[in-house]
Amino acid sequence: MIPELGSFSLILALCLSIILGTLPLVGASRNNALWMNLSRPLSAGIFVFLGIGVAILAYAFLTDDFSVKFVAEHSNTLLPDRYKFTAVWGGHEGSFLLWTFMMSGWMLAVAAYSKTMPMDFVARVLGVLGILCTAYILFMLATSNPFARIVPLPPADGADLNSALQDFAFIIHPPTLYMGYVGFSVVFAFAIAALLSGRMDAAWARWCRPWANIAWAILTIGIALGSWWAYYELGWGGYWAWDPVENPPLITWLFGTALIHSLAVTEKRGVFKSWTILLAILAFAGSLLGTFITRSGLLTSVHAFAADPTRGVFILGILGLAVGGSLMLYALRAPLLKTGFGFDLLSRELLLLTNNVILVVAAASIFLGTLFPMVYQAITDDLISIGPPYFNTIFNPLMVLLVLALGIGPLSRWKKTSFSYLLAQLGKVAIASLLIGVVLPLIVILEFSWVATLAVSLASWISLAMLKDLRNKTANKPTLLKGLRSLSLSYYGMQAAHFGCALMLIGVALSSAFSSEKSVLLAPGESVDLDNYIFAFNGTQRIEGPNYIGEEAEISVTRDGRAVEILTPEKRVYLATGAPSTEMSIDSGLFRDLFVTLGEERGDGAWSMSIYVKPFIRWVWLGSIFMAFGGCIAAGDKRYRRLRKKSEELEEAKVEAQLQPSS
């Protein structure tokens, strides 16, 4: 009975979504206040009913209700409770429910924190989200109802959750990633509302920016969590494989990054309006593409859900309608936005344009590399794959260019910056960065390396340019502290995120250039030497977990005769499915990670194992934390909270005045 209540509550949410997708939008165009005012309570209602749906599914998991097909396929009586709960998003149906629930959460947030926006705009934003919500719930009910029953004979026990998913990161990675993903639906709704109302001014950009920043920050964390998980769970020593399911979040992220920069220009200078709108549509399309790729059964991967062609067609339909429809609206409405260039060839606008072009090109090339094999297969029937070298060849030089522009951007001025000014500001910074890049790696590793020099130079370039900018901004204040206090949160957010780029760059470059790995066969008592660390194998012992049994190896690591760590990698066999699983053991550190994964036993207690030393790999995730933190504090800037009436008119007048002379 209870699972049927789940279906029922989804149907109620659907009904509310249909109303939300129609009445407020009509109300906004007819200026019917009553219909517009419905949008907030309706959003809250959808949130509540989808929340009940999630709660009922979780209840079915926790009570081992195997008559529900989704539960039977993704759980087992032996599964620990925390994984029973999170198995809610362990498969296609449940994770789509979570996705939709996350979106209703964003809708609720928009309903709650939109007091500074005019009512017709709020109604349009929520109305657009209501249409999306309708499509998602329809899809869920039509093709993938998580509450579908197995009749007449439910199994006695469930098939168990995929063993690769029984991990702490599984509890947090999917919700965070979805949260970031659907956050871009909100930004998309802002863009569509702007197109519908014809209102795309600095005030619009100011309403939109905090949402874009938060969605971007959460997506950053979601992707970083995924790569961290891949790194320690899959045990191949890397954190990013350019896998076709990893790429869509990155494409979305790159569009999102371009978007938050373009929004800055739109807010401060009133230009790039239609471009900003297009980026919002593209970022949203990227998130739908990710859904389509993982849920249509086009690919095999840890992320892919079992194939069902009708789902693929349905999602493709949503993708086509949403993206096609919004692009059509864009084509009709965007030409109405008149913006002249209004800036010089060398100016902050141009640097931000460069940023946008690089990011969009990077996203497009990843898109091409991801979809090319699928299109190729559809046309020729031949299977091909595109390896990581393709992505590295394109992505790396683009990122070098991006970082070069990143150093200059914050120091440049709006409208016009003279070359001699930039040279005076950054000449010394450039020389110092190069010097640090050459000298520092020489001191530390005692040899010259191109990668290390390039990476350290670029990271210094970002950091030193940032310090220079801070000094400029605080120089004319009485004390440094007062100067620092006078700077806005959004400024600090930007600097934190840029510093995150520097950290990530170091992590990516140095961990890929200086990693060492060895696959060896060790008998108990034997040891192997890697990068000055000695790994001694002490043998294995049997272990028993709640739903698995296995062997745990003990490897003691020493360096220069001093004990560093004892690593205990495991080889598990899950009881319900008999699936083997490898748990690697990591000793993580700021400057290097050591890790060991077990292969198999080869007789006489000897085991094959892979041993890795990975310098600076933590900096990849440290960098993403800085980026996400930057995005969040920038969204907390007090100017977004100012009351509407006073500031809006003023701000508009200002932008108008700025635009007049130049256009």
Partner: protein, 153 residues
Amino acid sequence: MKPHRRKTLGIIIFIAIGLSATVGLIFFALGQNINMFYTPTQVAEGEVETGQSFRIGGMVKEGSVAGEDDSLRIEFVTTDYVSDVPIHYEGILPDLFREGQGIVAEGSMDLAGVFQADRVLAKHDENFMSPEVKAALDAAGATSENHAELSGN
């Protein structure tokens, strides 16, 4: 030319140069990194040149896996039930590598007609067969019953 026209032109040229450079780079990189997929039958019929890098997919033949006790070298045979191709690999095999299961390997053929694998991938989930392996079996005309048995349903 008027100043604002010159500005517009400057920006257009700037974008055009950047775009054409990247498009060139993309096609260069794409051409370098396309890995074709072949079935054991195609390999046995000599469609692949020695040393050419490609992917092969098929089932691990029952009873064909042989390893040495003092090294990580491992030999096995992959099959689409029409033709067999021997594979040599040195390293640690994925968790789900087993006889009678589908695998995909990346590498190239050596002069002796042995596929030297740089990487061996097994499917991630036992209920799901890699489309590549499935295509290989379909192409070889594997019978429907051994198909059903293979995909574990």
